[in-house]
């Protein structure tokens, strides 16, 4: 998956800001005293500068203490991905200068208002499909409820009421959301210069390249370089890996391990493959007894300790790579998409909805499984995780069902961030409609601004079409050129994967079942040596049973 910044939301900090900004609490700050940066930070956080109290103002100007804000996992992850290290004493030391940030700086890093705008837009896309004269469908209600549960406080009460009132009519709810959407669109339009809008209209031949990655310190940089180099060597041993590395121009996205808890063990973000520190610590501690595992985790959980460990310990790096190889291939495929597809650049330019697209996941999972397939064909001792094995079985049993199951699973796992190209088109239609409405009610500048936005949407629509064609071409090419061979070779891959699974099973019955399954696949594969080995192990297991 790729992580959208708008999905990592700050809730409690802003709620606290709102509470502390209550006029009943103490004297209010004269808004004229606020610097432009402070005013913008409050606007980003959707806090009315006219309601800012002196006490809150003093706190926001002082050092930000992440412990006092009781940040959620997602909120902490947001800061970490933004280049901050959260110290035990509560300071957040952030790049580029690693100085403790202030409360105002913390607010400005959040973009709560942008997250709200995105949420309103997605809800409006759902409401647009409803019959305005009828009561709201359970689908629309469910969608709003899901967003509210995932990000409490993000959607204003008035909008929540518009959908939650018994018998609420779809037309009324859509009107409430549309008003909020137009207001919000005006706000963000006001922040974009005409030059910026004009530039976003001009088609780009290729996505812009990222500059060099910034690392927090030398240890993080060294650990990343070592992990990425080792992965490059692994990719080079595998035909699918070589193909991926070549498509990336030989320059792999750096791999970093960060203390993030964003509902995923790994993702692609900001030009990097990010592995979750928690998962990596579990992998490093695997095989150790409880006491030693806990001690290792405690030692490496201190800020910067894991990076230092990984930069100096080749065995630890090998263990991390072995546990994450397929996942890294998956995330590097997202890196390829970012570098290859103008469709991605159009999301960044605001001409296309920014989302986790199921079509991009299809390609990433397919590349990951093709890589593992090649790996296990070449390596009799290769293995797949249970999750990958199940997905591989799904792939070889029906390619199209495999893709649909990813789409479904994505919608279930990330209800407010997942989308398909169809969603992109629905949102593009909404944006165009909003622009036309704003154009009709505005003067020359507004008309010009909205005309530029409409031209940008047309550029985005063309890239959406181009991406869809390229996606279909890639899938058909795989189906025609590779799929039959992959299915034919799958019995050997499955036999080896199930054999490796048997070795992981702690339960004797589970082990025998895995060996029996491996034997069934081995019989179909025609690998007599493997059949003999597995038959003997199955017999032994059955006798013991």
């Amino acid at each position: 998956m790729t992580l959208q910044r708008s999905t990592l939301l700050n809730m409690k900090l802003v709620l606290a800001a709102l509470l502390w900004a209550s006029p009943a609490f103490c004297a209010l700050v004269d808004p004229a005293r606020l610097t432009p940066f402070e005013r913008a930070a409050l606007e980003d956080a959707d806090v009315d500068p006219a309601r800012l109290t002196e006490e809150r103002y003093a706190l926001l100007k002082g050092p930000f203490d992440w412990r006092k804000e009781e940040l959620s996992d997602a909120e902490r992850s947001d800061l970490v991905l933004d280049g901050c290290r959260l110290e035990d004493d509560g300071r957040a030391l952030c790049l580029p200068d690693k100085e403790p940030i202030t409360g105002f700086q913390a607010l400005s890093r959040r973009g709560r208002r942008a997250a709200r705008h995105a949420a309103i837009e997605r809800v409006l896309a759902v409401l647009a499909k409803e019959d305005p004269s009828k009561p709201l469908s359970p689908q629309a209600r469910g969608y709003v409820r899901k967003i509210d549960e995932a990000h409490p406080g993000l959607l204003p009460d008035a909008l929540l009421q518009a959908v939650s009132l018994p018998g609420a009519n779809a037309g009324g709810a859509a009107a409430a959301f549309e008003t909020a959407y137009l207001d919000s669109t005006r706000f963000f339009d006001g922040r974009r210069s005409l030059d910026d809008l004009r530039e976003s209209v001009v088609p780009v031949p290729a996505p812009p390249s990222r500059g060099p990655q910034a690392f927090y310190d030398d240890a993080e940089s060294r650990a990343s370089a070592a992990l990425t180099q080792s992965m490059a060597e692994e990719l080079n041993k595998n035909p699918v890996g070589r193909e991926l590395a070549k498509s990336l121009g030989g320059v792999l996205p750096p791999i970093v391990v960060l203390p993030i808890q964003a509902g995923a063990e790994a993702f692609y973000h900001g030009g990097r493959v990010v592995l979750s520190e928690g998962s990596v610590l579990d992998q490093l501690a695997e095989g150790l007894d409880g006491k030693r595992a806990a001690a290792l985790k405690a030692r490496l959980s201190k800020p910067g300790a894991l990076a230092a460990h990984l930069s100096s310990d080749a065995a630890a790096r090998a263990k991390v790579l072995a546990a994450n190889e397929g996942t890294i291939v998956h995330e590097m495929t997202h890196g390829l998409q970012e570098r290859r597809d103008v469709f991605n650049a159009e999301q960044d330019r605001g001409n296309v909805l920014s989302a986790n697209y199921a079509e991009e996941e299809h390609e990433a999972f397919l590349t990951e499984l093709r890589y593992l397939h090649a790996d296990l064909l070449a390596d009799p001792d290769g293995s797949m995780s249970d999750e990958d094995l199940s997905r591989y079985e799904s792939l070889v049993s029906d390619f199209d069902r495999f893709r649909d199951e990813i789409t479904r699973s994505y919608a279930e796992t990330f209800p407010d961030g997942a989308g398909t190209l169809k969603t992109a088109r629905e949102v593009a239609a909404l944006r165009a409609e909003a622009s036309q409405k704003l154009m009709r009610g505005g003067g020359w500048t507004q008309t010009l601004r909205q005309a530029l936005k409409l031209a940008g949407l047309a550029t985005g629509a063309a890239e959406t079409d181009a991406y869809e064609q390229a996606y279909a071409g890639r899938m058909e090419s795989f189906r025609k050129l590779e799929y039959s061979a992959l299915v034919r070779q799958s019995p050997l891959v499955l036999a080896r994967a199930w054999k490796a699974k048997a070795a992981r099973e702690t339960d004797r019955l589970g082990r025998v079942h895995a060996l029996e399954t491996a034997l069934e696949h081995a019989l179909r594969s025609g690998d007599q040596a493997l059949v003999a080995e597995l038959r003997e192990r199955v017999d032994r297991g059955r006798r013991a049973r």
């Binding site: 689908q139 996941e361 049993s397 069902r401 649909d404 919608a411």
Partner: protein, 177 residues
Amino acid sequence: MRRLLALGALLTIAACRKPAPPPAGFVRYERERPAVSFLVPESWRVVEDGGGSRLASFIGPADGARPYSRSLGLYFHETGGVYASVDEYAAAQKRAGARALDAKDRTWKGRRLLEITLTRSAPRRLHASGMEDRRERLALIPSSGGFFLLIASAPAGEAAVSDEAYGLALESLVLPK
């Protein structure tokens, strides 16, 4: 009298042709190429086309304890594709992780229907560890130029609700000859 009989016969034919109104919470999904239609839960999201054998997939429910944990899909596998027949498709499922597989061959609306119920292990969430059992119900129907596949999938614990959607979809399914 003969006129009345003729009128009665016409009305009967008209009544036969008009599909019964869908039960509450379901709507009829129709598409032209190929001309197919079947009942689907009203609130489920549709994913149409997408290339290959896919005709339409529906995911839902939109609400409840586990939104989008179930799916219902219709596919058409052309002759000359990966699977030569419904039996080959069924065998492929068995080879690839399907457990507790139960297959029944029967006649459905004058055609052959191979119905399969199976359980398979699948990741509980994307990008995270953890597995769960999912139950699938498949209806494989040979047709001119290939075969249709209607499939419903749900977490094993939700099988009963999923069966209702599958049963209604199959009962209401209209396929070209």
